[in-house]
């Protein structure tokens, strides 16, 4: 085996639509190394959340995985049966969902919800173990007895982290875990996530759109555009020298605290899946685009220093 914590090979996710098949994730490959923190950024509609759901095998019709492998150790999640995938979730791979506010059952004490998840996997659990788990994610004693509405957004997100780690998975996927929280709470929650990762010796796949958060948290970063990975690189490398023009513009659009200059957004709009531009999907918005970009789609190329970029001019 490759020794990767998670290996995605040529993954494709499509949605049936009256206009034909819409491909939300198109031929995406990357490797999550053991203990690594890997980030996936992109604008809304770039396919990053669809990736998370696909890896968890949670894509619902009219969507479906129509190609590629999702290797968790020796197991290919893409071809696993319904029962087997249910067992793999939580035990091998767990998701901290977007919008923790809505992920919890409002009429059930949060401790019972953690116990429920464990019992579902045939693990019986004592109240003391639940309390220990709650303490591990930084929740005060007695939280297990509370209902979701009695908790703040940050605390609810911590409960979701507790559920995700209760069976000690080797891979944790966190889909915009802090997008609804203010910056102070965001940093505390990310710190808890970093702590439990160390505890579990797990790898983290962090999905989001905030380049600042990625720069501070992940080891390597993948950039998605219109369903494809356009760049993968070690985070220091991407910050120092982004190779894809889209990555460069994403970084430039983040307001800096170091220097004050005219705010630069990315001109134009993200393309619609049902109407993707020919050649490189980014060419209508790209300042460096040439004729070649309108006809020929660039494939990801290795550029040394662990950098992979899909641009003719990188």
């Amino acid at each position: 085996m490759s020794g990767a914590a998670l290996e995605i090979q040529g993954l494709r996710v499509s949605f049936d639509h009256p206009l034909g098949l819409l491909r939300a994730v198109d031929d995406v490959s990357f490797t999550l190394r053991p203990h690594e923190r890997f980030g996936l950024v992109g604008e809304s509609g770039s396919g990053k959340s669809t990736m998370a759901l696909a890896i968890m095998r949670m894509i619902r019709p009219p969507g479906h995985i129509d190609g590629g492998n999702i290797l968790l150790g020796d197991t290919n999640l893409a071809t696993l049966s319904g029962d087997a995938i249910r067992r793999a979730r939580l035990a091998g791979i767990a998701l901290v969902p977007q919008g923790s506010m809505n992920a919890l059952n409002p009429v059930m004490r949060v401790g019972a919800q953690v116990a429920d998840a464990m019992r579902d996997h045939g693990v019986s659990v004592s109240a003391r173990a639940i309390d220990a788990l709650m303490a591990r994610v930084g929740l005060p004693a007695g939280t297990a007895q509370k209902y979701p509405h009695e908790l703040s957004g940050g605390m609810k997100q911590r409960v979701c982290i507790a559920i995700a780690i209760c069976l000690r998975p080797t891979v944790i996927i966190a889909d915009e875990p802090t997008s609804a929280l203010d910056v102070v709470v965001q940093r505390q929650v990310m710190r808890t996530l970093a702590d439990v990762q160390q505890d579990l010796n797990a790898a983290i796949l962090l999905i989001g759109h905030d380049m600042g958060l990625m720069a501070q948290f992940v080891n390597r970063l993948g950039v998605m555009y219109a369903g494809r990975l356009v760049e993968i690189a070690p985070i220091a490398e991407i910050v120092r020298k982004p190779r894809h023009p889209y990555t460069e513009m994403l970084i430039a659009s983040l307001p800096s605290m170091d220097h004050k200059d005219a705010l630069r957004g990315i001109p134009g709009l993200a393309p619609l899946l049902r109407d993707l531009p020919s050649g490189c999907a980014f060419h209508p918005r790209c300042p460096k685009a040439r004729d070649r970009c309108t006809t020929e789609r660039p494939e990801p190329r290795a550029l040394g220093d662990g950098v992979l970029a899909a641009c003719h001019f990188a």
């Binding site: 102070v184 940093r187 905030d210 380049m211 501070q216 659009s253 800096s256 605290m257 705010l263």
Partner: protein
């Protein structure tokens, strides 16, 4: 001195605590601020949820009535404006809200939100004139009219919708725009574009903007002044540069330290610890339960604003050696 265009004069808003004994929540406490006095400027009001920043916006817009103090337009209580003065207030002071999805009626074309103010405020005498006004407003915020008019809300992106709302506000040639979290629901790559067009309204058209946000980084990028709110009061205020580059209040320091930046010069996860002691409801300083520097005096005396610079004030006992700044003189430290 003439009366400022819009002024919050020692306003407060308390929820609950009535006869039924519901818990009393102070949303805004004895707050004073003038907008649209002097040179046009962008003033950011920054704070976490529950800090009172949206309550302030709603009070200034007349959407919530204060439980103490008065909001004045040209010196007159906004709840007692006569017909003409009321129309002038509704023209001069415009709002942009957080949700660029909720403000549109999905059954109407986008044109509807633009033609309604033209009709209600009789801005144009003919259909052609109305169309010209609307197209001009859309172009001012960087939109192409042919891509917006005639479409339905779901056919526009979040950024296009939010800029359409800015164009709507512009139609009335306002003197003040109160923007409550205008970019928190749009993609990071679009935020810069929208905030850039807001800033140009101040620089090119002389419109003063009150930018309500939880995002200190964008506040610094677009604002002349920043007011930091914490649990219903202003804890720090002044020139944007001073507040962000030399934060004086421990809460502002925590806020600045918590912003994840692309440059990796410090350990973001580890710096500026946030102490979370059990909430001390009766502590005189509202930040005492999270502060690294809490002293005995923080439990007994409410810290007043101290003027630590010409354009900089903070409400913290660490700066008690400086002269006090009365809460109603907050504008003295704003440019």
């Amino acid at each position: 001195m003439t009366a400022p265009l819009l002024q919050a004069d020692r306003v407060g808003r308390v929820y609950g605590g009535g006869l039924l004994g519901a818990a009393r929540t102070v949303a805004l406490d004895d707050f004073s601020l003038s907008v649209g006095a002097g040179k046009p400027s962008v003033t950011a009001v920054v704070g976490e949820s529950g800090s009172g920043k949206t309550t302030l916006a709603r009070l200034l817009l007349g959407l919530t009535t204060p439980t103490s103090g008065t909001v004045r337009y040209r010196g007159e209580d906004i709840t007692r404006l006569s017909g003409d003065a009321r129309l002038a207030y509704r023209t001069d002071v415009q709002a942009i809200f957080q949700d660029p999805y909720g403000v549109f009626n999905p059954f109407y074309r986008v044109d509807h939100v633009l033609t309604t103010p033209v009709r209600k405020f009789r801005l144009a005498s003919s259909r052609a004139e109305a169309r010209a006004l609307i197209e001009l407003a859309l172009r001012t915020v960087g939109l192409r009219p042919e891509e917006i008019l005639g479409r339905y809300p779901h056919q526009l992106s979040g950024g296009q919708r939010q800029r359409t709302m800015v164009a709507r506000a512009l139609l009335l040639k306002p003197k003040i725009i109160i923007a409550d979290e205008p970019v928190s629901m749009v993609d990071a790559s679009l935020r810069a574009t929208i905030l850039g067009s807001l800033r140009r309204l101040t620089d090119d058209l002389g419109i003063s903007i009150l930018y309500i946000t939880h995002d200190l980084a964008t506040a610094w990028q677009v604002s002349d002044n920043i007011i930091v709110m914490y649990r219903a009061t202003a804890v720090e205020a002044g020139q944007a540069e001073a507040v962000v580059k030399a934060p004086a209040h421990p809460y502002t320091r925590l806020l600045v330290g918590s912003i994840p930046q692309v440059s990796q010069t410090r350990d973001w996860l580890a710096t500026e610890p946030d102490l979370q002691r059990p909430e001390e409801r009766d502590a005189a300083c509202r930040f005492a339960d999270r502060c690294r520097f809490t002293m005995a005096v923080c439990h007994t005396d409410r810290p007043p604003l101290s003027r630590i610079g010409l354009r900089h004030a903070a409400a913290c006992h660490l700066h008690g050696q400086h002269a006090d700044l009365a809460a109603e003189d907050l504008n003295d430290v704003l440019a």
